[in-house]
């Protein structure tokens, strides 16, 4: 099985919407809730899509805004205007 990538956020309204968007777009994602933070984990890769986040937030969302809620992540990053992807290349 592919190695896991993960991304963790501080708990907040915004990050709840981001996590929901991740779950909608990435089947097989698991959620690990810790005090004041939430970590989402998925084998191989994980993509945050701008449009899906916007649907869950009900407003425009610039992916660079992730900076505000993010705590940590693993994997290689590829960022465009529409998607933010974490992946291991193996």
């Amino acid at each position: 099985m592919a190695d896991n990538v993960f991304i963790a956020f501080q708990t907040s309204d915004e990050s709840r919407a981001i996590v929901e968007a991740i779950l909608a777009d990435n089947p097989g994602t698991t959620v690990d809730e810790q005090p004041a933070m939430v970590r989402v984990i998925r084998p191989g890769s994980l993509t945050i899509r701008r449009e899906t986040v916007e649907e869950h937030m009900g407003r425009d969302f610039d992916l660079q805004e992730l900076q505000l809620y993010l705590i940590t992540l693993t994997g290689n990053i590829d960022e465009t205007d529409d998607a933010f992807t974490l992946a291991w290349h193996n």
Partner: protein, 517 residues
């Protein structure tokens, strides 16, 4: 020149960033490039094309200012509220505050060093992409140093042990562990610095400090620490990515770089692991309410993470460092070994020591079923009995230190947890001692560097850790008191047992005033 100003296509983030950043630099001709960038080649790393650098996060300065200012607004609003509402009285127990003392004294000044180190590398790399990334990291690290100081400033007003953190980092015995780690990285060449900090400090160290430990701070009611911790780590996500990108870039530029990078990864993984000993003890012994054990945190944030990472790097021929095997064994031991050390040397430390309660020992037994009861419980129970009979054990003889990691030689043989691990090398007629094969290897590779180590024990015995007015020839000269005076450590307030301390008494009294008139 034809300049249509209308119907411009909207630029994507990658194109926009490329235009905004790439191409700003140029090949100098009035001065030779080797003179402009004098440190780029001596480490032996070969770079053929700096433009092959992939920018991991594409933040232009305007976006940087916008998002970082937003983070700062949130952070200081929470801090102000926490301070105004006496948030420090809402923590689980004032023992917890001792983790913050370690943090402010031992970690925050390293953030400052990271800022200076990245300023240096951000000046010296000949490529514009990595330079801009390093410069932003330099600025972020200043943020971390200052937000940590500002967060803990309020604790300094009410608790002991915080009051002289920059001085203590430069003087107090155990502080030479984190400090020498950073001095080592800073004095290395710019590429090694990137592996040391971008990989070891960010990927190995801060992830374990700022994620599970800070989550623990939140669990213990410290919204201040939680806020600066998580907020800092959001920058670290960028930094880890930069470190990995730098490693990948070196590996892709020239096959000759691979063995050099491997050697640095081996060295710095181990340097980072040794410094983490302090964090291990913070998690297992110093958080009154515990989120997860050190061992569990290590498994999630190092083992799982590092395995994935090294699988990813395998295509370049990079292997998991050998020291990871020893770390796999050590995760069962280091928190106990470290806490036992600080307990016995707490007369000369700037935070308090205490023994785990019987409930805490049961928790440790459950988390460490293969080691705690067999090797460590007897030690703590013996000390508890001694203390109860009025013989609280304070060790007053100075310990032997490892020449490289500078931790007292407390670590045991990987094959025998009852045997201290001794390693030795000779260089230019002098003997040098190490806690492990890995520290010895680091020394043997660059002995000229590590013979310079400012080892606190050696310095005390040379007479270099007294104030200028101290007179060792006087009959009533008390060397320990004089060393504490040099440390600016307030004897009887900053040090010794938590039980009976001013911190304990004040916390209890202040909490009581909140329930009575």
């Amino acid at each position: 020149m034809d300049m249509p100003t209308t119907t411009k296509k909207k630029l994507g983030i990658k194109e926009k960033y490329a235009l905004m950043t790439r191409g700003l630099d140029w090949e100098t001709t009035y001065q030779p490039m080797d003179k402009v960038f004098p440190y780029a080649k001596f480490e032996g790393i070969k770079i053929h094309d700096w433009d092959k650098w992939e920018d991991p996060f594409r933040l232009t300065m305007d976006a940087y200012w916008k998002y970082q200012a937003e983070k700062e607004r949130k952070l200081y609003a929470i801090l102000d509220a926490f301070n105004q509402n006496n948030g420090h009285l809402g923590i689980t127990d004032a023992r917890y505050v001792n983790t913050l003392k370690l943090f402010l004294n031992g970690i925050s000044p390293l953030e400052y060093m990271a800022h200076r180190g990245f300023a240096h590398v951000g000046r010296q790399f000949p490529g514009v992409g990595p330079r801009v990334a390093c410069q932003m990291q330099s600025l972020d690290e200043m943020r971390h140093a200052q937000t940590q100081i500002h967060s803990m400033s309020n604790y300094n007003r009410y608790y002991n042990g915080f009051h002289s953190f920059p001085e203590m980092l430069q003087k107090v015995w155990y502080m030479s562990v984190p400090r020498s780690f950073f001095d080592d990285a800073y004095t290395s060449g710019p590429f090694e610095f990137m592996v040391a900090i971008g990989f070891s400090f960010e990927y190995v160290l801060t992830n374990l400090l700022f994620v599970p430990f800070v989550s623990g701070a939140a669990y213990n009611g410290d919204m201040g620490a939680m806020t600066f911790g998580f907020s800092a780590q959001s920058d670290e996500a960028r930094h880890m990515t930069l470190g990995l990108e730098c490693i990948r870039f070196m590996l892709e530029q020239d096959p000759d770089n691979i063995p050099i990078v491997q050697k640095w990864i081996d060295k710095w993984t181990w340097r980072g692991i040794r410094v983490l000993t302090l964090v291990a003890m913070m998690m297992d012994y110093m958080l009154p309410k515990k989120v997860m054990s050190w061992k569990e945190a290590w498994e999630i944030y190092f083992e799982e993470n590092a395995t994935a990472l090294f699988n990813d790097l395998a295509r370049y021929g990079i292997k998991m460092p050998d020291c990871a095997k020893q770390a796999l064994i050590d995760k069962e031991h280091i928190s106990h070994q470290a806490w036992a050390t600080f307990y016995q040397y707490s007369a000369v430390s700037n935070f308090h020591g205490w023994l785990p309660s019987s409930e805490e020992m049961d928790w440790l037994s459950a988390k460490y079923p293969d080691t705690f009861d067999q090797y460590y419980r007897p030690r703590f129970e013996h000390w508890a009995k001694e203390a109860a009979e009025g013989r609280r054990f304070y060790n007053t003889t100075l310990p032997q230190l490892c020449q490289v990691c500078q931790i007292p030689m407390i670590f045991t043989e990987p094959t025998d947890p009852t045997q201290i691990c001794y390693r030795e090398s000779e260089f230019e007629g002098d003997k040098y001692h190490f806690c492990s094969d890995h520290c010895k290897n680091i020394f043997d590779d660059e002995p000229e560097k590590y013979v310079q180590a400012w080892l606190p024990v050696q310095q005390i015995y040379q007479g270099n850790c007294f104030m200028p007015d101290a007179d060792p020839t006087k009959p009533d000269f008390n060397p320990i008191e004089e060393v504490l005076r040099y440390y600016n450590l307030q004897n009887g307030r900053d040090n010794m047992d938590y039980v009976g301390s001013e911190d304990e008494a004040n916390f209890r009294a202040w909490r009581q005033t909140s329930t009575q008139n």
